[in-house]
Each structure stands twice: as structure tokens, then as C-alpha cells.
Subunit: 525 residues, 2 copies
């Protein structure tokens, strides 16, 4: 072996030691580096920019033919020389992972050499100012300069927040050499300044599902001179790169046993599979799920109720709020806890209807609609009763029924019983906060052992970060994308039958939920 | 087959017909195009620029999912979408081939779709103003701003002359989508603005031997928005892309029988090989060859003697000048003709020495040096005698001996007898003008049947043009480069023995030149 990288480089940063040229080995400078990089990366080609060709001869001689190289790949065979630093460089070589949510954007700065996280920053997607939801933005993109304004909003937002994040971490943005960005298909289009208009018109065609790799400069991001930005591919209009990133993060493509990933954000997205096959569905499949969970829940914050328990005997409410502040609202996980507790205490029946005789003075009728007081006015932060209405409960029942029906339909399409899954990943905010026990109790998710449930956290961000710190992950992205079979959920008679059966607590078929105890008054009388 | 290009597209211009999207086939727009282009090009990946992603959706719909695409490859697996035009576009899609000579630069404009030549333009390399030869320029490149000035000179020169060429051809430079440029290693470096300084310092290392593909914009060339420029690779400091281009042009890599290519420009470069192997040598191998031929010859032009014959009986000179104008000088091909005729008529002996007794009143001694009057003052355009000195003849003998010795040494290194070659290509101006019969007579090239000799013309330009009009040629360039064994010509005892033996007309070993008749006075008395 005449030259090469040190073996201990499992990152995109490679320590390169070249044998200096001699009369017996007059390989050109760049070719010498290319050979070493190909060996270090397992590639057959290395892309070197014109500017790098110009700098190489002097750099290599100044550094005695040693260097640190930040590299990346545009495909499994093609390496890209992103940055060359002196062999004894001690400044941090950084990467930026971005979860490009339509509501919230999360930035994570990583140390490319160490593979560690340097810091994170969350901010509201500034495009909200133009359109609160993605559909409004897609329509806005069709107005004059609309698309470029939307693009500029998100680029500027990232750049501004990144500057703060960099300051917090004590690094300069020009030390960021790689970025990986995952978002849903529409967000990806808007970020790239590509029209999403054909995604919402029959036959629902994205401009691209595989945008690939760009320089930061062409995207309008000011990172290092030659920084590269990897954009996660999409499967289609309704199945985006954020989910592919999540599948990578969960190593779904490497598992022998079949696992399920559920991601409930603005939409519900579900993937089922293992290293041999993957099937997915997404979008507004169950009409009831739309806006259901999200409309009811308050954004998490101090005073928001996130845990509810009810003593089945005394019917005493045990309420926990974030930061233990006086209660001012309830978030999604709180609502699910509440519904489960109401059911187990017999305060709602198996249809989710409030039972006045069990609710006592917590039951009220306002404007002809039944309500349950969760926190009376004298204990709440707002000075008003915090209550949940029968309509809210009905909406929750429809949401959970839709969710369960989607899971069941997807599993049934490949002949799998939900009860036989050994791993069930719950992604996103939903996964981070809900109590699986409560979600099982209301029949939202299947009755698996609690050890089967794993919260993935922000899997979209996690997958993007892995691209930056774990090079073999990059080569897995397109195979994951290509192996997904997308199931178009038809709301047909089968689906409606399953949906109807799931609109009870926990289900009309109680044998599916053996772990859920019978409520005190299970006859519903 | 659902979509694709028409089968009759053996060019870089592909006519694409896509099946429009439908609910049953919701492939993204770009992905749909990528599939068709991969099929048309035999690639597995297609690079699409951000700007193209942005334009694609509207373009494809406007053109009913049909288009003309100008494509290229960055490697055998990776296609590049360079330009997209309407399916019924009738304007010419152009390519530019450049022979980047250190003395002269030649531009050729081609029609990418038809594969035809639109026009050519030749101009002096404007870098001559800074340094007449390449060594002077390499030194100048080391001065402050020297490199960037040299780069700007050649870029501006090409741009200016290209504008004229385009005007002559009735096209606009922004219709040029592809360019292919071949030059020697130093010229390639100067063109790219990469320092050539380490090429002339031991151990003689170029910055790069495989610069690859660039956008016209990054090189400073104003062609079409997304135009790509292919730069021929080099083998090393002394074996450049112009020669690789020439080997491609001669199809050396596809021949079953071994052939030789000789290119005499500023240096002599020789390649020997076939489809299985290639061996090459180049540079200032024979000390006598340096400046020999080129110093003596005048640049071709009206009145320059290009053909000379002498009646061996009457010793009458039969002289031909370019454009039949009154003689004012003699070019390289004329000198070789003259030397052969002098030898066959017995006016020089086998050492190339003038024989006063045969030369008659054409023999003169000026300043102690023997001369032969070719054209007396009364017939010449200058009003002075046109003559050749014994020193000129000695220099020619050394040059031809060095040439033959290089050919012989290269052939001997692979155990081949020059006499057994079936094809002998003579490239460049040298090849275009010399009379092989005369070159054989003086023993400069081996005594093969005249049908074995083929003049290649400007093979560097020819190879560059083939890259633009014959796509499979592109994939042959790197294999040619990689299969060349470069022979470092050591001026050792073997070489000097061969050189000494070749310093006679035609050679000390007359059996090698059976076709050359014995001169009237072959004893040399």
C-alpha cells in the first residue's frame, strides 16, 4: 500500500497521507489524491472542482502531502472532494441536518469528524406567514413571485436561525461543509423553488422525486465555499423525504423482523416492512383524522395538561401540567390520556358518549351540547372552566378509529396481523408524548406488549443527521426509496367496515385488546 | 415500451417522447424524463440542474411531453441533461471542438444533431505575446498574476475568434451546448488556470492528468446557459490530451493490427499499438531534433517551396512553390524533398555532405561554410540567392536520425520490426505536407509500401470533434489513456548506437531501405 487514508475514519472526514511524488512515481497531484480518496471511500471516481485543482499543488506541498479531506458521494461510485484542510487542523468541521417541517423547522449542527451533536435549534416555518398549511402555500406559489417569496422565506429563516445556532455553538457557518435536508414533498419543492402546483391537480405529479445533491451556493445557502446539500428523495406527492429519513433512522431496511412506523403530524403516515420489503400509506386517508387530533390539542407549553388519570373508584382527577403551572389547555397526549381514563372509569361508554350519571357535576350542557369539566374555573389559569365537549370526544373517536383502520388495512394488504408485530415505532411529537398504554386503551394502536413500542422522536431529523455522521447510510437512501410500495388507501366498503368496527372503545372485537380491563359499567347501561 | 427516445439518435441530441402522466402512472416529471434519457443513453443516472428542475414541469406540459434534449456524460453511467428544446425546434444545436495548440489554436463548429462541420477558424495562440514557447509561459505563470493573465489571453482569444466563426456560420454562441478541448498538458493547465510550475521541476508532476468535465461558465466561456466543456486527459507532463485525442481519431484502440502514429509538432511524439496495448514516447528525446526541422522551415505561404525534384542526369531543379508565386523560402516538406533529391542525384553523399564536383556552380562557400544555391537571386522573390548550408543539412541529418531512432527504439521495446507495420499514421502539419517517398529516401521513416502511410491531418482537432458527434467515442477516452505505457526515452548507449547508425542516408544498414535506389555515385567518391 503506497498511500491512503487511516483506517479509523468511519466518517466523511478522511485523514489522507500520500506518498510524495518522485521520479519513480510521477502521478499528478490530483490523481494521487483521487487514488487515496477512492480507496478511503470505496468509490471509483472523485469530483474535484476547478478551484480545488488550482489550489491542490501548493496545498499538498505545504502540507507534505498530508491533509484532512471532507468528502461526500453523489452516487455509490462517485466521491466528491468538498473541503481540504491541513493535516493538523483542529477547528471543527461541521455538518447541518435540517428537518424541514411545514409547521416547525429543526436545525441540528453536528461535528462531522466526531459524529457528535453540537447543538439544535427549533423555529416556526416562516412560510406560515404566507399560508398556515401546505395547501395554502401551494396555491400562493402560483401567484406572481409567490414561489420565489416562499423559497426566500425558508432560506432566510434557516440562514438566520443557523447564524444563532452557530453562535451558540461557537462555530462559523463557513465551517459547515455538508448539509442533509428532509421534508415532505411539497416542502422540498418550495425549498428548492420548484413549483408544487401539479402535485395538487390530477394526476398529482411532483416535478421531481429525486432532486439529489446541490451546492449550498446554488440553493442560496451561505455555508463553506464548496459545501454540498443532500436533499432526501420522495416517493410521491404524499410520501416525502421526511418519512424516508425516518425509515433510515429506524433501520427498517436492515431488520429481519417486520416492524411498523407510525408518524402522526399534519397527516398520518404509516410504513410496514423489513429488510426485504416495505409498504407504506399516507395522507388524508380517514376523513375523520383530518384536523382531528391537531385541532383539539394545544401546542405544548407551561400549563398545558399532558397527563390525566382518574381514580375509577373515587372518580378523582389526577392532572399533570407541563412545568406544573396552573392548567390553561390540553395537548394531544393529554386528550388521549383523558379519553382512556374516562373509559376505564365508566364516565364514557364504549361509543365514547359521556354518561351523565357517572360524570356527576363535571357534566354540563352548554348551548345544547354535552361537556365534561376537566378543570373548574377556580383552578384554571384562564379563570374559565377547561372542558371537553361531546363533539370533541366524537372527533377523537373518529380519529382513533381512522388511525387503527389504516394500520389494520396496511397490515392486511400483506396478510399480517397487527397483533403479531414485534416492533412498533411511534415517530414525531406524537410518539414522544403519548402514553402507549392510553392509546391502546382507546384502541388507537394495537394491543402489543409495551416493550414493543419505541418512540423514535424526530426521526426525520435523526435520519438527516445520520447521513452526515454515518457514511454507509447515504447508500441506503435510494434503495429504501425504491423498495417502498405505496398503497393508495381507497375508502371502499372493506375500509368502511373496519372503520365502523373501530369506532368503539377499544373496538367492537374486544378479543383484539385483551390487556384493556373492562370498565366498571361495561354493559354501557 | 412506454416512453423513450427515437432509435435513430446516434448523437448527443435525443428526441424524447414521454407518455404523459396519468392516475395509473404518477411518476414525477423529472423522473419520467430521467427514465427516458437513461434508456436513450445507456446510463443509470441523469444529472439535472436546479434551474432545469424549475423549468421542467411547465416545459413538458407545453410540449405535450415531447422534447429535444442535448445530453452528455460525466462518466459511462452518468448522463447530464445539458439543454432541453421544443420537439419541433429547427435552430441548430451546436458543438465546439478546440485544438489548443501552443502555437496555433483551431476552432471547429459542428452541428450536434447532424454530426456535420459548420465551419473552422485558425488563429495564433495569443499567449505567444507573453512567451513564444511553452517553457517561457510556464515561467511567466509563476510571476504575480502571470497565470491568470495567460488564462485570460487564451479564453479571450477563443471567445473573440469564436464570435467571428459563429457570425460566419450564422449561429449565436449561446446555441453552443457542448465543447471538447484537446491540448498538451501545459496548455491544458494554462487554459484551466492551474499552475504548471511543478511540471518543469523534478520530479515533473502535473497538477492533474484528468481534469474532466466543467461548465462553460466556470471556465469563463460564454456558451449556452448550461453548456459543458470536456477537457481531454493527459498521460503526464510530456504526453498530453492532444495526443490522446489523435489516438481516438485514428481508432488506434480498435485496430487488430499494430499501427504507429507519429506527430511532429514542437516535439516529436510517437505512439505504437493496437486494441490490446499501446506504448508511447514523446518529448525532446533526440537532442538533435530540437528546433531542427522547425528552425529551418518557413511557415507555409505563397512563394514558399514545398516540392523539389532534381533530374539525376541533367541535375536540373524542378521547384514548386505554394500558389506558384516567385520563391521566397522553403518549408519542412520542401527541405525533405530537397535532401532526398540531392541524395538521389549524388549531389550529397551518404553522410549528407555536399559534393562540390556534382553541385557545379550551385556550390558556394560563404564565410567558410559550404552552401547550395536552390534558387539564384535573379529568380527569387527576395532578389537574393535562396540557399541551404551544410550546417542546415547536418541539422536535418541529425533530426531525421533522431526521428528514426525514436521509432526504432519504441518498436524494439515491444519486439517489433518497423518493417512489419501495416499502418503508419503521420499526424499534424508535418503529416499533411511531407512526401512519404522523400522521407523514406532520407531514412526518416521506415521503408514501408506507400499505401501504409496515412496522413491524419489535425488529429487533435479531429478527435475533439468526434467526441461531439460520435457519443461512443467519449467512453473510449479514459480506456485509451489508461492503456498507454509511457516509455521514458533514455539516451543510453543502445540509443546512441542506433542514432549513429541512422546518421547516414538512408541508413548504414541499406537492407532496411530496399526501395531507395542507389545514387549515381554511391561510393561517395
Amino acid at each position: 500500500m503506497t498511500s491512503g487514508s487511516l483506517p479509523e475514519d468511519p466518517r466523511w472526514v478522511k485523514s489522507i497521507r500520500l506518498i510524495p511524488p518522485s521520479l519513480g512515481d510521477n502521478t499528478a497531484d490530483a490523481d494521487r489524491l483521487v487514488t487515496a480518496l477512492n480507496r478511503a471511500m470505496g468509490t471509483t471516481r472523485i469530483q474535484i472542482s476547478l478551484e480545488q485543482f488550482r489550489e491542490l499543488p501548493d496545498m499538498l506541498r505545504r502540507w507534505q502531502y498530508q491533509a484532512k479531506a471532507v468528502v461526500f458521494k453523489s452516487d455509490p461510485q462517485t466521491g466528491i472532494l468538498v473541503h481540504l484542510a491541513p493535516p493538523d487542523d483542529t477547528t471543527c468541521l461541521c455538518g447541518l441536518a435540517v428537518d424541514l417541517g411545514s409547521t416547525r423547522v429543526v436545525l441540528r449542527l453536528v461535528d462531522l469528524a466526531a459524529g457528535t451533536t453540537l447543538g439544535e435549534r427549533v423555529f416556526d416555518n416562516p412560510q406560515i406567514a404566507v399560508g398556515p398549511d401546505i395547501l395554502a402555500r401551494i396555491h400562493y406559489a402560483d401567484t406572481p413571485s409567490g414561489l420565489s417569496r416562499l423559497r426566500q422565506l425558508i432560506i432566510d429563516g434557516i440562514q438566520t436561525e443557523l447564524a444563532r445556532l452557530c453562535q451558540d455553538c461557537g462555530v462559523f457557518p463557513d465551517r459547515i461543509h455538508l448539509a442533509a435536508i428532509s421534508g415532505n414533498t411539497a416542502m422540498t419543492h418550495l425549498f428548492l423553488g420548484i413549483t408544487p402546483r401539479w402535485m395538487i391537480r390530477e394526476p398529482y405529479i411532483p416535478a421531481t422525486n429525486q432532486p439529489g445533491l446541490f451546492t449550498a451556493a446554488e440553493l442560496g445557502l451561505t455555508l463553506s465555499a464548496n459545501a454540498r446539500v443532500f436533499i432526501f428523495p420522495n416517493v410521491g406527492s404524499y410520501f416525502g423525504g421526511d418519512l424516508i429519513s425516518g425509515m433510515l433512522y429506524a433501520d427498517l431496511d436492515q431488520r429481519e423482523e417486520t416492524a411498523m412506523i407510525v408518524d402522526v403530524g399534519t397527516n398520518a403516515e404509516v410504513v410496514l416492512g423489513n429488510r426485504d420489503w416495505m409498504i407504506a400509506c399516507a395522507g388524508a386517508a380517514g376523513p375523520a383524522l383530518e384536523g382531528g387530533m391537531s385541532r383539539m390539542g394545544t401546542t405544548a407549553g407551561p400549563g398545558v395538561i399532558d397527563r390525566v388519570a382518574i381514580d375509577p373508584k373515587t372518580l378523582t382527577f389526577d392532572i399533570h401540567t407541563i412545568a406544573d403551572a396552573p392548567p390553561r389547555g390540553i395537548c394531544g397526549s393529554g386528550v388521549i390520556d383523558l379519553a382512556a381514563a374516562l373509559f376505564l372509569s365508566g364516565m364514557v361508554d364504549i361509543r365514547g358518549k359521556l354518561r351523565p350519571e357517572r360524570c356527576g357535576n363535571r357534566f354540563q350542557v352548554q348551548n345544547g351540547l354535552a361537556h365534561l369539566i376537566i378543570v373548574p374555573a377556580e383552578s384554571s389559569a384562564t379563570g374559565k372552566d377547561l372542558s371537553i365537549s361531546q363533539a370533541d370526544l366524537d372527533s377523537l373517536i373518529r380519529s382513533k378509529a381512522a388511525m387503527y383502520t389504516i394500520l389494520e388495512t396496511l397490515a392486511a394488504s400483506v396478510g399480517i396481523q397487527l397483533e403479531n408485530l414485534s416492533t412498533f415505532f411511534v415517530a414525531g411529537t406524537f410518539g414522544a408524548y403519548i402514553d402507549p398504554r392510553s392509546a391502546i386503551t382507546i384502541g388507537m394502536i394495537p394491543d402489543l406488549a409495551l416493550s414493543c413500542y419505541q418512540s423514535l422522536g424526530n426521526s426525520s431529523l435523526g435520519g438527516a443527521a445520520r447521513i452526515l455522521t454515518d457514511p454507509p447510510c447515504l447508500d441506503r437512501v435510494n434503495p429504501i426509496r425504491d423498495s417502498i410500495t405505496y398503497l393508495e388507501l381507497n375508502v371502499n366498503q372493506d375500509f368502511m367496515n373496519r372503520f365502523s368496527a373501530a369506532k368503539f372503545l377499544p373496538h367492537t372485537d374486544r378479543s383484539r385488546f385483551p390487556s384493556v380491563p373492562l370498565p366498571p359499567d361495561h354493559t354501557g347501561n
